[in-house]
Every structure is written in structure tokens, then in C-alpha cells.
Symmetry: C2
Subunit: 216 residues, 2 copies
Amino acid sequence: MTIRLLLVDDHQVVRSGLRMLLASESDVEITCEAGTAREAIAAVENCRPDVVLMDIGLPDMSGIAATRAIKSAHPEVAVVALTIHEDEEYFFKMLEAGAGGYVPKRAAPEELLTAIRAAARGEVYLYPSMAKLLVKDFLAQERPEEGVTSLDGLTDREQEVLRHVAEGATNDEIAEILVISPKTVARHRENILQKLSLHSRAELVRYAIRKGIIKA
Amino acid sequence: MTIRLLLVDDHQVVRSGLRMLLASESDVEITCEAGTAREAIAAVENCRPDVVLMDIGLPDMSGIAATRAIKSAHPEVAVVALTIHEDEEYFFKMLEAGAGGYVPKRAAPEELLTAIRAAARGEVYLYPSMAKLLVKDFLAQERPEEGVTSLDGLTDREQEVLRHVAEGATNDEIAEILVISPKTVARHRENILQKLSLHSRAELVRYAIRKGIIKA
DNA sequence: CCTTTATTGGGTAGATTTACCCAATTTTGA
DNA sequence: TCAAAATTGGGTAAATCTACCCAATAAAGG
């Protein structure tokens, strides 16, 4: 099975270069080309490619918007971003748009081929410098849940009170649950606010969610 | 600069095979080997490798735990997982442990080399089938923020008020920001509570975070 | 043993919220 | 054009919160 390819780049030279580069590969066939986002979207309709090699900087519309449009109409078509941009901004947006690969133009030809083949299989190829950014984001997302420990010096009872406060319970309700005086609950809450340098229930709720004490 | 490598695998044959495979590469040098997690941790101390090729299934301790230990003591040492496991479970745990690469044993030799070189640069190489899992997770994390639409029939103004309420602002503060009467803010807030069947600011904060209107 | 910390409880006062009552103006869509 | 919805604003009252004041008892650690 040869992989049908759609080349999207506004520079004729780049397309020619890629054509040359990929010509020797027996499993890849460049079915058609496009120089603008609009052309690309139309070309997907006409040529039915397996993989779209998408530049991000296009004259009429961002390659990101084009990718969104293509994936929306044809989710089975894989889109590999091939671009000069190596920043988080474009990378994450491209992933959200549904890209199945992200390769900087400075990458080696074999890496582009690996990306095309992975995308054709429905997998995802990320250039190492990009993968690093995604893992960083992944770790940032996961950490807060682990951070249930080290709650800025809150005592056990304070954490217990905090949990109920964050879940929306009033002092009286918490007092009933913990079988203590509402005044004691209020005192715990005051100590919590002071320890954390917070000033309202709203901030307590956000703090509790950040720390993974309660789920949003 | 040659990359100093530590090979960790409990099978002698596998280590020999890797040694053979990497022998021809001029920029990679296998400095030492280990057959257990304990040996691996000690070897990092003694050999000072740039990159550790880590198997997950080890006799004494999981390669994941070993990775955690190594990264904790020597954050500058890169660890590349080389394993038969291709499931989310081990993959994500390995990332959390600080792995700078994840390559299944079925991968092509060049991919392993790419991973080693990327990890040595401080970047991250993820095998396409693994990258796919991470992107899936990324999209699952990000989606809620897109879900800012369809907010259970809240009007534009109500959403605006909700955002400020959730961020901890009082009615008076919001009134000043939006340049309307505090009474109007209160009215909007009341309508929001009623529409969402909520009864307090704490619940509004959780709702707003769930819907991605504000970050925790 | 003694000091510190955690946990408990009370009082007061002002700020804020929640929940109702009322209605005018503007915008939107049918 | 006309009705519905959105946005605006006011009044009142009870509930609740925030922020101080005070202190006793119990547990933990040096």
C-alpha cells in the first residue's frame, strides 16, 4: 500500500524539493499539491490523500485553521505539520487542531519519512524538541495531584476542615459533620486563611482544587 | 563528543545485542552495564553516563522506580526507556519518573539511536505509538477549556460576572470592573445560581473551574 | 518536665452573600 | 412590529463570612 500524500506549502521551491526528496521512496506517492489553505482544503476533497504535509505559514489562512477544517471534514486524513516554527504556541495549537505529526523543516529527511509513515498508521510522530515541550506540559498537569502532600503546614484537622469548606459546606454544616462547635470550625478556617495568605472561601476552593484536595 | 551510555537489562543476550548494534556508531560509547535496578543506580554513580538505556522489567525493582531514583540523584542524566511494554500505564509512569525517551524493543535500530541522541541533547524522543497516547491525554486535558461554549444557558454578561465571582471578587469589586451597579452584579449572580441550581460562591468556583472558565 | 503546637470553644463587629420583592430600558428574534 | 429575553437598578432581611479579641485542654517533641 502506497501512502497518498498532499503537499501544502506556499513556496513552489519547497514543494519541488520535497517532491524530489520523496520520489525515491516506494511507499510514498505525492498525489497533489496546494499553495494556499483554501486550495489544500479543496485538494483533500479531490485527491483523497492519506497524509497531508502542512506548512503553517500560508498566505490566506493559517495552516492550523486549515488543519482544523480538514480534520473536521475528514477525520481519517492524517495531517503532519512541517514548519519552521518550534515554539509551544504553534505546536500545541496544531495538536489541538488534530495534527498527527510535527516536524521542523530543519529535521533530517528520514525523520520526515518516519513522521509520514507513523501518521499514515494513525500514530503520532513528534520531533524530539517538540516532544520535550509536550512532556513538560504533561508533567505540569499531573503534578498537582501528587502534591496532596506538603500542604503548606496545614494540620490534619485544618486539612479536613478545608476539604469541607472547599466542597461548599457552611461552618455550621461542617461543625455537625465533625461534631465540634461551629466556632471551632470558624477558628480552623481563620487559621487556614492566615497560613495560606488567602482571604475568602472562593480562594480556598481554588487552592483545594490546585492541591488536589478535592476535584473540581 | 561521544555519548556515554549505561545499559540496563536483566538479559545478558539483550545487552550483548545492543552492544553489537551500537558498536558501529562513533558518537556512542557503552561505558557500563547493569542487570538489576540496584546495579544500575550504583553504576550511575561510578560510570557517570550521559544516557541510561533502561529496561522496565527488572528482577529486583521496577525500571520506573530505578529511573525515579536516578533522576532524583542526578537530574542531568537522561534515561531512555527501552521496553516491551507499549501501554499507557507504564508509559505515563515512566514520563513522570523523568524519562527522556520511550522506545519499544520492536523499534528499528535507527529509532533507538535517534532517541539516545535526542535524550543526550536534553530533548525527548517518543516512539509514534507512544506519542499518540500522550497527545490523546493532552487533548483530554485541554478540551474542557474549549467547552466554554454551551454553559447551560448562561448569557454573555452572566458568564463575565461568573468569571469574576469565581476568581474571588466581591460584588462591589465586580461592579467597579464592569462599571455597573453592585445591585446589578448581585442580580446577575442570583440568576446564575438559579440557572445552575447552585447555592453558594464555593459551588460557583468549582463550576467555573470544571467548565474551564477560570484555571484552578 | 516543660515548651510548643494542635485542638477546642466563646464574644463581637462589620462586610458580604443569599434570596426574595419590585421595575425600566435595551436587544433580539420570530 | 411585537413579544421574549437580556441587562440594568433598587429595597429588605436573614444567613453567612471574615477578622479581630479572648482562653482551656490535650498531644507532641525537645
